[in-house]
């Protein structure tokens, strides 16, 4: 029997899955969110009361609000940082594993920040 060779497993499937899931969220959710949140009050689509502090904290700090954070902040962050990581390589600006650590590391840290801010609002 041939000696088994140890292969270094690539971690790319993890990052690509997060990138792909983020891509779906950016395509499906982000356009609607920008139109409503940025141009909604301006175009008269939303009243001032619709975006009031009471309504928004009730909506966002609902237990399902964390899914919203995941879909519009966390997955799009991994989507963006994946493209930036590969973009830096394509532009030949950075090839090192440090660049990869910085890209995905910042996505992880900002995701933790988003979850922390959400928990802060829910429990404080």
């Amino acid at each position: 029997m041939a000696a088994t060779k140890r292969y270094q497993r690539s971690d790319e499937p993890i990052w690509w899955s997060l990138f792909s899931a983020g891509g779906v969220c950016v395509a499906m959710l982000i356009p609607a969110l920008i139109v409503l949140l940025v141009f909604g009050p301006w175009l008269g689509l939303l009243s001032a009361e619709a975006l009031s502090y009471q309504r928004m904290s009730a909506l966002l700090y609902h237990p399902l609000g964390v899914l919203f954070i995941g879909a519009v902040i966390i997955l799009p962050l991994f989507h963006a940082m994946h493209r930036i990581h590969h973009g830096l390589h394509d532009l030949q600006w950075a090839h090192s594993s440090l660049a990869k650590w910085l890209c995905y590391g910042s996505a992880v840290l900002l995701s933790l920040l988003a979850l922390g801010l959400w928990l802060l609002g829910v429990f404080v």
Binding site: L46, L59, Q92, L110
Partner: protein, 133 residues
């Protein structure tokens, strides 16, 4: 191994040399304005956790012309990203219905219909209908 391996040169501006490469880079660049919008959301999340005065401050900040301009760019970028992303679905995962493959154009149209439905659902959730009454 050959003694003089051929090493192709790859200038850093390779992507400027063909329309397809420029299109690819433009698609990759859609994440730059997206990052600004995500940053706006994180800032809003922080302001909401700090109380009502802080939240009203964020709403005002979002209506500043330069913020609106950058977020308008993020909107265009997300639509361009969606345009390129929706075209991939029929190629990656063709759907078969009743023994025949669903036309790619139907699948792309279905996804744009999804964008519209998401918009209507989010509008309803935020109180677009009730808030104005």
């Amino acid at each position: 191994m050959s003694r003089k391996p051929y090493q192709p040169s790859m200038p850093a501006n390779w992507w400027l040399k063909h329309p397809a490469y420029r299109f690819y880079m433009l698609r990759e660049a859609t994440v730059l304005p997206l990052l600004f919008f995500i940053g706006s959301l994180l800032y809003g999340l922080y302001c909401l956790s700090q109380g009502e005065a802080s939240w009203l401050g964020w709403l005002n900040w979002m209506q500043q012309p330069w913020v609106m301009a950058l977020n308008a760019l993020a909107l265009l970028a997300s639509l361009f990203h969606a345009f390129t992303f929706f075209r991939l679905f029929p190629q990656v995962m063709p759907l078969r219905l009743g023994g025949r493959t669903l036309p790619a154009s139907w699948m792309v149209a279905g996804q744009w219909l999804g964008v519209l439905l998401v918009f209507l659902a989010l509008w309803w959730l935020l109180g677009g209908y009730h808030g104005s009454n």
